[in-house]
Symmetry: C3
Subunit: 520 residues, 3 copies
């Protein structure tokens, strides 16, 4: 009884939430990523039994193992996954299936080493890790499209599958391959028309670096011009969005109307245009990791939730979050205190989540992530985490229908500018004295924006994010504008109009410092 | 009246200064570097008006924008600069013109990427930043010579031009290109005659690395032999001197007798032979940057002044110094307190400066140096700095004739050894426990020498620098010798003779530790 | 008299030592490495005279100067070394001769640059330093074999030579050359038979990196799989052992029965299989460096002695140890207090050493090691160190026959696992929060194992080391098992049996965490 009261209490603490509907969902989904293929021995039936007993309602599968779907170039194997999805379906556990493109198989690297990333200044990616390919490479896209279509042909009709994830934690990864540079120059031609225009807009007179023909645009390597760097960052963000949109559209050709397509976004990653990336998706989803024990503040959960809820203006899924310990070293591997896993579930729901999935069900016995422990430990036996998941799952079975599709109505918004985040990296305001090269610490995101959000969170003031790309100022009584270093006249005009019309703005230092080309 | 008294007071505080004459100059020159071509809109007339009103007497132009003088290979455009120089001349503002070779145009990089620097261990320079070329490359020298001659043909006769600057803040930059290595080996052949001799002088028996033919001299990359490294450092210093001398001689073919040629040296840079570099120059010039507010000690100004005054034994120009803030991050961007800009001007004069030029007039609206703010801020309106410059300029118009060409007569000298600076980098006495590779912290220059100078400065004892290459010990009552790690027997003999003849010497630890080949 | 009493006292303090015999040695050998070829002038006779006077009984020569034995490809010169060995022999000073393969001559690099190391991720070794070659390169082995055979043909019969050292401070050095990778893949084929087996044992399903043919095994560069990394580390340790064994066998073809072959191992180096490396050697030898003055604890001496005594279970030689200062910077260059050099000699003997040789006799006047000072300083005159060496040498002449071939019998052993050392580097338990890449800090060796040893040392409890590869648990009452992260079932079974049979075990956290393939 006490537990139920607690859940109701949490519900009462969310005054701005009202029931609503985005894609059809009549209860909170609760589950875990599931990689039976990683297990050293067969235990599918046992896992299904334990999940069912615990009350788990959803698993996410398939996004990590291209080499099992296609062990050899052009040879496809689905039986190993069919039985997993079939058994889940039989047990009433819903399945989300991922496209496996974030980690290429060895045969693809071996046949086409040129799709690996060439980083700046001569460094090159190598095989043996995930996310090491140029996602704009036509070769990579060719093989990606083939496996996605094969999978969709095979799986779209499966009644157990409720949705699809495209790729995994995608972001711009410093691709500096020759063909990517050529694409960038083509983009410049299209956007700026003439080199004269580019010389002027970027201030290439500085240090005498004007260009007279498009071949004279240098590769990204050692470029210092902030206009170039900002446009390059935008182009990278767009490249990610194009890639995710391309995948989403392929999936959409096959999926049923009752199935969704989504991607698991990362709250800490800013080198991606989330709005454009999600344009062809049905719902937002995100992976949230945070400290536990005394380090758990709830703030990371709220920040991520507020951010991604705002991108599409609706409920979202949590595709991954801490089960037991996370981290690479013992120093940071803190298992949650009793009750923290459950507390986090309600915190997610309070921000608008319609699903909470742990990463992941098992703990893995090899590879880099053996300490990113799942609900089960390496012994794969019931444990404290399993018991807490089970308790929470049963609560959700009872009350989840009342908690699903909650809507927030906030009076305060934070204006988030990817351009300002990038431009402040190029001219870091908080570097050491001799800093010359750009920073990668995203001080805009992780210090300025985070500070504002934290204060609001601590004072229990609900907040949305708004973006220059979708600027609905009028909805809010107060708009907080962290250092809006890059701002077009048009954007500044809109803010001025908002204030003239009675809106309130808190604007931080260096706002309006430079125009959309990073020119002061 | 109070201001005038203050200037006279300063004058009185310089007891060792006596009026004298090097190149003809009848008043202190006072002004700024001027880059109208960096401005986003036309304002030449307004700038000239403001300068004239402020009392500014000199501007430096042209050293940064090769791509405007030669926007396409072999096509030259001077009109844009002609009008600047003409208008300055009409307004009575003198002009110093720089050769623009420190930053190559994009078309030159695009046509000849091989002139970019190959650094040690496979790293390569890339385009998009200044000072990234091998200054010994014949290709680079070919294009440099062409633009310099074109500019001199066009400008030498202009009555408004009082002098020329060759290149900008030149130094050895870690060039490790193949042709540079071959030049080095040729230099070794000429200097040491036989490989046997080299084996002996450098101690190549150590770890069995003797060479039997000149092709066996390894490239600089991973060399550990300290004799090799010292000779390589000397060869680099010489390469810079050769380059600056080569430019100075070309300029001298064209310039009038009343025009000078100079280069803006950097006080903190030691990988350059200043004496040899200046051999064909008419006057020394330097760029001095320092802390402001409570961090302003006057010491950096005095060190730089004492050093470069000593190189040619006469007055010098300050081609660049802080206007408003400098630095890459907000942490170090301190505008001077009211009065500090003026104070610094008299400090420079007190050390023997005949010109003080700010870097620079405007603040730039793009590029890496937007926070290295000029006399004017980004709004380009009169401000506190402009007012202080104006006040100081008008003082100089009244009293400058009495302050120009001041001479110092000091009884104390510091012996400065570039070889010791380098050799102590190779065997750092103050590194961390596991240091193996050479240091680049110039501990000799920035700790040992600087300490001695600071104590003298704080005790108001005037000091000159002397160099092993021009060793006029006899002029001084006391010679301070910071760790003279590298010393030939000849040098030690001269010091001994000096002491025998009654001279006083303070000699620091590790002096005389090794011979001129870094052999103990 | 007092000194003699002190030596006897030390002797009394070693209760576990009993006289025994490994290779014939009737007194402690005491001397120094000797590099007359490094001296800027002739002083062989003077050195021999001083050594003789001091009572020095052994020198080690020849391991550093291949380019003097073979100044040009295929031209051999021995006369320079003949006179050194002859004069030593005449003076009754024994000689150990080293093969000079750890530092290749310039002509060999110039002819075969491909034998230099290709490191991971595109970095390449360069010439100008020692130990920069791929020791598995057939080209390197060809030239190494030729010089070794030439030297052995020439020197094996010399009556003054008591033994041979092969190579110097050998270890795995990050070789990633193409041919080395192919060897590794061949090794995998032989060991694991099928790719299916490898996929399973290494868990290559993780991130979908299964391989379908052997060409798909990626090079080591960016590999993250811990099973791969552990096997690669083992393969590297084996490569070093193969190389040292190969050299030992060549030497053994020529050497007399009364001559030994050995190698100078480094206590701090773990990327080498010492047991396999020493399999064809007659005696263990090691180089031990440690702090002096107040930093001298004796612990490093004891650790190194305990370790290498345990590898072959018999007495060993100290081929190198501190004479005067060591280190690269002044901060760490501490000359020993009076008496410390002598104290260290007896400490070595107390651990089982049969020889103590300083590195080295002279101090060198050039190169990287001018501050690694020998018994003599750069002036090469008698000094405090020489006097202390002389005193100690004369003591050993009197008492050494009683101190030679001492045997230890310990009740406690520490189990040392190279696999665990490596695997804990790959999954560092003590890294910073964001550590992803492997560490190189050998926390297992330098923190966990060292802590246990230190406590035993401080409590005066003698200890041996045992290894999974030669596991004589039964000899000990107590076996301490620092974090045995990698352990086969067979090994765990043996430990269990030992405890069942009455043995005592202290086992640290994470022991038995993963199997022999680093799978949890």
């Amino acid at each position: 009884m006490k537990k139920i009261r607690y859940a109701l209490l949490l519900l009462a603490a969310l005054p701005f939430l009202v029931n609503a509907q985005s894609i059809h969902q009549d209860n909170i989904l609760y589950g875990a990523a599931y990689y039976h293929e990683y297990m050293p021995y067969e235990r599918l039936d046992e896992d299904v039994r334990m999940m069912k007993e615990a009350g788990i309602s959803v698993v996410r599968v398939g996004e990590s193992t291209w080499s099992l779907f296609e062990p050899r170039d052009g040879e496809f194997e689905f039986a190993w996954m069919d039985r997993i999805i079939d058994k889940m379906h039989e047990a009433g556990i819903k399945v989300i299936l991922g496209t496996p493109t974030y980690s290429i198989p060895a045969w693809l690297w071996h046949k086409h080493p040129e799709i690996l990333i060439d980083y700046r200044n001569g460094r090159e990616a190598s095989y043996g890790i995930r996310q090491n390919m140029n996602i704009t490479s036509p070769t990579f896209l060719f093989y990606s499209e083939r496996i996605i279509r094969k999978m969709m042909e095979h799986y779209a009709s499966h009644p157990g599958i409720i949705g699809f994830q495209v790729d995994n934690e995608t972001e711009a990864r410093g691709v500096n391959n020759y063909d990517f540079h050529v694409s960038f120059v083509n983009h410049l031609k299209k956007k700026y028309k003439t080199t004269e225009n580019l010389n002027k807009i970027w201030g290439l007179n500085y240090w005498g670096m004007t260009i007279d023909s498009w071949e004279e645009v240098p590769p990204r390597d050692g470029v210092t011009n902030t206009g170039y760097k900002l446009e390059w960052a935008r182009f990278n963000r767009k490249a990610v969005a194009d890639f995710l949109t391309w995948q989403s559209e392929i999936v959409a050709e096959y999926k049923r109307d009752d199935q969704f397509v989504m991607h698991c976004f990362m709250p800490s990653v800013q080198n991606i245009d989330q709005i454009a990336s999600a344009s062809k998706m049905d719902i937002m989803a995100m992976n949230v990791y945070h400290d536990q024990q005394d380090g758990l503040t709830g703030n990371e959960i709220a920040f991520a939730g507020d951010y991604f809820r705002s991108v599409k203006g609706s409920n979202y899924l949590v595709t991954e979050t801490n089960a037991q310990t996370i981290g690479w070293t013992s120093k940071t591997q803190q298992p949650p205190y009793p009750g923290q896993m459950r507390q986090n579930v309600y915190a997610h729901i309070g921000s608008g989540a319609n699903m909470i999935e742990y990463w992941h069900w098992h703990s893995i016995h090899y590879g880099q992530e053996i300490y990113w422990k799942g609900v089960l430990s390496h012994d794969l036996q019931p444990n404290r985490a399993y018991a807490e998941v089970s308790k929470t799952a049963h609560e959700l079975q009872k009350f989840g229908t009342k908690l699903v599709n909650l809507k927030k109505k906030n009076d305060v918004a934070i204006l988030f500018s990817h351009d300002s985040n990038d431009a402040l990296n190029f001219m870091p305001f908080n570097g050491s004295g001799s800093d010359w090269e750009e920073s990668t610490n995203n001080a805009y995101r992780s210090q300025l924006v985070a500070q504002f959000h934290k204060v609001l969170y601590q004072n229990n003031i609900g907040v949305d994010f708004i973006f220059p790309e979708q600027l609905n100022l009028e909805k809010y009584k107060l708009v907080i504008i962290p250092s809006l270093y890059v701002a077009s006249d048009e954007l500044l005009g809109k803010i001025t109009d908002y204030v003239k019309n009675g809106g309130h703005v808190i604007m931080q230092f260096k706002s309006g410092f430079s125009d959309e080309n990073s020119m002061v």
